[in-house]
């Protein structure tokens, strides 16, 4: 498909001098996978060269995850085959895939939290001493050696539960390398780590590439693609679309391949005439977490909250919304000082809060779309004598889900069955039903596809246009810069600066965020 020479040259120049009678370390040929009612993959192929990073791009539901799970032995293809180092293999279980040299780093990291780093890496393969007991000293040594090779700086005896997400990822990577894997699959590894950690991760990925490992890298972030990937393949609706060298294409080309349509404007920011100050926060403090945070938000304004993960951005949002009430400081709404001790207080004051983590703090997974959408509004509306007015609610929920273009057959579909983007739209709908005056959005577009992202961005703009004061937390710099009127930057629990739209650029924000 793509016999261009630069990549070949790269793989030949890689350090490992094995004789390689194969051009591709991993090939998936005409794979097909059906689930009841859906064809998740239709005649999909993928070819990964050794010593390259091969990115998989596509909207949610494009079939990337299914393909990954087939390669990792979690699903079995209905048709087609997998070739590893040129030979056809049958991967019956994830363990078989691991032993064959395919390691997968899942988005949700799969480590045993109460065990140490070393124990996690060598589980099932622990070195034994003369008595047949686990030789911890040797295990420690093996881990140190492994970490040295990979340039990872972690204590092998630390308990995994004490590590940050980024460090846990490092443990997973080290574990994958310890298997001498030829193929490493990474599913959105940067979705929950800070920019600095991303840089370190990329360093390590480049090291792995030099060792001749073929890396399959799933991501939604375009700039990562250009930074780390040599080649990429695009999928759409379960179909394979194209494979290209990443040096050959532009961002717009890729977006077009992914969505099959042109997205002219990623950030439909509109100039809105700002109204009065709606929310005024002074010296807000949650002891031990963040201190003396002060800012104003006007009607129609979008205030971006930037900062590295762990800087306290989300904590400020949670405190504003009464999830973790403030220990000191004042909150004024429309000039009146208010006390927010619970989320219900915040809702009554016209606030809404889309949380960061859809699964953990957003969705009621066992419940249906309507029940998910109505949960915040039925405190004060649509209830008579304690009875929920289902018929009325169904109407408004349907209206809002049509407005937000939630793709679903009906309102009684279980939310678990929706894609991430559609789940997010339902959650946004939950808050729009309450007619908020102040809307707090924490990572509103994390982990959702390009199309849904653009829709959510234009929705936020439209809300601001209608006079809603918006506070938007985001780890994606282009999103913060593209959407916000002003950007508040946090660093280690302190507000380090508020930049106007005209002044704000990537360098200044990073400067304030990293100090």
């Amino acid at each position: 498909m793509n016999n261009s020479s630069p990549v070949e040259a790269l793989s030949e120049s890689s350090v490992i001098p094995q004789t390689k009678p194969y051009e591709y370390v991993l090939e998936v040929v005409n794979a097909r996978k059906e689930f009841p009612g859906v064809v998740a993959l239709d005649n999909v192929s993928l070819k990964v060269r050794p010593g390259t990073v091969h990115a998989l791009m596509g909207e949610n539901g494009a079939g990337k995850s299914t393909l990954m799970k087939i390669i990792a032995g979690i699903y079995h293809p209905d048709a087609g085959e997998i070739r590893l180092r040129g030979e056809t293999v049958h991967l019956a279980t994830p363990l078989a895939a691991q032993e064959a040299g395919i390691a997968m780093i899942h988005q949700e990291l799969l480590l045993m939290n109460s065990m140490t780093v070393a124990e996690n890496i060598w589980i099932r393969r622990e070195p034994h001493n003369a008595f047949g007991l686990v030789d911890h000293a040797k295990m420690h040594r093996m881990t140190t050696e492994l970490f040295d090779r990979l340039n990872i700086h972690l204590d092998p005896d630390a308990e995994v539960s004490e590590l940050s997400v980024a460090n846990r990822q490092m443990v997973e990577i080290a574990k994958a390398v310890s298997f001498d894997s030829d193929v490493l699959i990474m599913d959105e590894p940067t979705s929950a780590i800070t920019e600095k950690e991303v840089a370190h991760l990329f360093e390590i990925i480049r090291g792995l590439r030099e060792r001749g490992i073929g890396i399959v890298y799933i991501t939604h972030k375009m700039n990562e693609l250009f930074e780390i990937a040599d080649e990429f393949s695009v999928f759409r609706d379960g179909h394979y679309i194209a494979t290209h060298l990443s040096s050959e294409v532009t961002r717009d080309d890729i977006i077009q391949m992914m969505v099959g349509r042109e997205i002219t404007q990623m950030f439909p920011k509109e100039e809105v005439e700002l109204g009065d100050v709606v929310l005024s926060v002074k010296n807000l403090t949650l002891e031990g977490v963040f201190h003396d945070v002060s800012f104003d938000v006007r009607a129609g304004e979008i205030l971006g909250l930037a900062g590295l993960v762990g800087s306290g951005r989300s904590n400020v949002a949670e405190t504003l919304f009464g999830v973790t009430p403030a220990t000191s400081g004042t909150i004024e709404i429309n000039g009146k000082e208010v006390s927010i001790q619970t989320s219900h207080d915040a809702i009554k004051l016209g606030m809404a809060f889309l949380t960061e983590d859809r699964k953990e703090t957003g969705c009621f997974l066992p419940l249906d779309i309507q029940e998910n959408a109505q949960m915040a509004v039925i405190h004060d509306d649509f209830v008579k004598y304690g009875f929920v007015q289902e018929a009325k609610l169904e109407k408004v929920c349907l209206e809002i889900s049509q407005k937000l273009r939630v793709k679903t057959p009906n309102m009684h579909e279980c939310i678990e069955n929706l894609s991430g983007g559609n789940q997010q739209k339902v959650l946004i709908g939950r808050w729009l039903l309450t007619n908020p005056k102040i809307l707090i959005l924490d990572e509103p577009t994390r982990g959702i596809d390009v199309g849904a992202k653009a829709e959510i961005h234009s929705l936020i703009t439209q809300l601001a246009h209608n006079g809603v004061a918006v506070i938007m937390i985001s780890s994606e710099m282009p999103e913060v810069l593209g959407m916000s009127d002003r950007v508040l930057v946090m660093h280690e629990g302190h507000c380090t600066g508020i930049l106007d739209r005209a002044d704000a650029d990537q360098v200044k924000v990073m400067d304030l965020a990293a100090q």
Partner: protein
């Protein structure tokens, strides 16, 4: 096996019809299947009909009623993601305390010497209050100290049994007023069934159509999301445990009124039967899923099995062995169903 044949048509029906067939339909088919099984075996092994015996059916449904009332409360606790192990002991405790207020004034072994004949609703209210108080303590412990519901209600299970014994020094209480005994024998002996049905219908409506019910599901489905949605989880959980305790108290009143005596050993293992009824009825132990109708059918399945085995003269030991197996099978089926659901996404 029966569930598979019952769920299979759902998939095809799902597309045209607006709602999927509720899971209760498949549980109901299991109930019919089990009843038919005993009917057939009855003709072969005992030479008589299992179902065509009115008094047997009445006994089944009377036995089911007491467990059923408890199970309706336990169902709500399980839907919040909790568990209540104290119901059986709370039955004994509220039964014993209320019984001492239900005695006739001229009864020889009277506990409160100054007692006069009280109208039936006073001991009833006493029993409900004791049950609700136990539930309050459960809920309070769980929400304030953050200990797991399993532990909190385990403590209550042991302590409430102790209270039941201590209250009368272990001696049984009987000699109830006529009006109180009607709670268990009125309406042509159907009173327990009527009370059970009222409880089931009320809480079916509460769980499906009220804000209270929606919040209960929300807390079980995702407590963190529930908190952010403005739900006061602590006070809601306390209410749910109080309802469970109150219903255990009500079950106790029905039980002592029916057998006209209360003793500290009563209600032993009722909590497990109630949990089993809920689980067999499709209430998910991981919270957020399940319905009162399912639990009612689950309780009926337990009752029919018990009666069926007695009818076939199966030894009591085997009955327990089989009952245990059924509970495990019900959970396995539930897990299987959930796995299937999450795999299709």
């Amino acid at each position: 096996m029966t569930t598979r044949t019952a769920t299979a048509p759902n998939a095809t029906l799902a597309a045209p019809s607006k709602k999927r067939l509720p899971q209760e339909v498949s549980i109901l088919l299991v109930l019919f299947g089990i009843a038919a099984f005993f009917e057939v075996l009855g003709w072969f092994l005992v030479g008589q009909s299992f179902l065509g015996n009115m008094s047997r059916l009445q006994i089944i449904i009377l036995q089911v009623s007491v467990i059923g009332i408890i199970a309706v409360g336990v169902t709500q606790v399980i839907i919040t993601g909790g568990i209540d192990l104290s119901s059986g002991s709370v039955v004994a405790m509220s039964g014993m305390v209320a019984a001492t207020f239900a005695q006739q004034a001229n009864w020889p072994k009277i506990i409160h010497p100054a007692l006069v004949d009280l109208p039936w609703f006073i001991p009833l209210l006493v029993g409900l209050a004791v049950g609700a108080a136990a539930g309050f303590v459960n809920g309070w412990l769980i929400t304030k100290t953050k200990i797991p519901p399993f532990i909190a209600t385990l403590g209550m299970m042991v302590s409430a049994r102790g209270v039941a014994r201590w209250y009368t020094d272990g001696s049984p209480v009987s000699g109830f007023t006529e009006s109180f005994a009607m709670l268990g024998n009125g309406l042509g002996r159907w009173a327990p069934v009527v009370i059970f049905l009222i409880v089931a219908v009320v809480f079916h409506v509460v769980m499906r159509y009220t804000r209270f019910g929606k919040f209960t599901y929300a807390i079980g489905a995702n407590p963190q999301a529930a908190r952010v949605s403005g739900i006061n989880i602590e006070s809601h959980l306390i209410k749910v445990y109080m309802i469970a305790g109150l219903l255990a108290g009500l079950a106790a009143m029905v039980a002592i009124a029916r057998i006209k005596t209360a003793q500290a050993g009563m209600g032993l293992m009722y909590e497990l039967d109630a949990i089993a009824a809920a689980v067999i009825g499709g209430v998910s132990l991981s919270g957020g899923r399940g319905r009162v109708t399912g639990t009612v059918i689950g309780a009926l399945i337990l009752g029919v099995m018990l009666s069926g085995f007695t009818f076939l003269r199966v030894d009591a030991y085997y009955q327990d062995i089989i009952k245990g197996a059924i509970i495990v099978v019900a959970v396995v089926v539930d897990m299987h169903r959930q796995n299937k659901r999450s795999k299709t996404t």
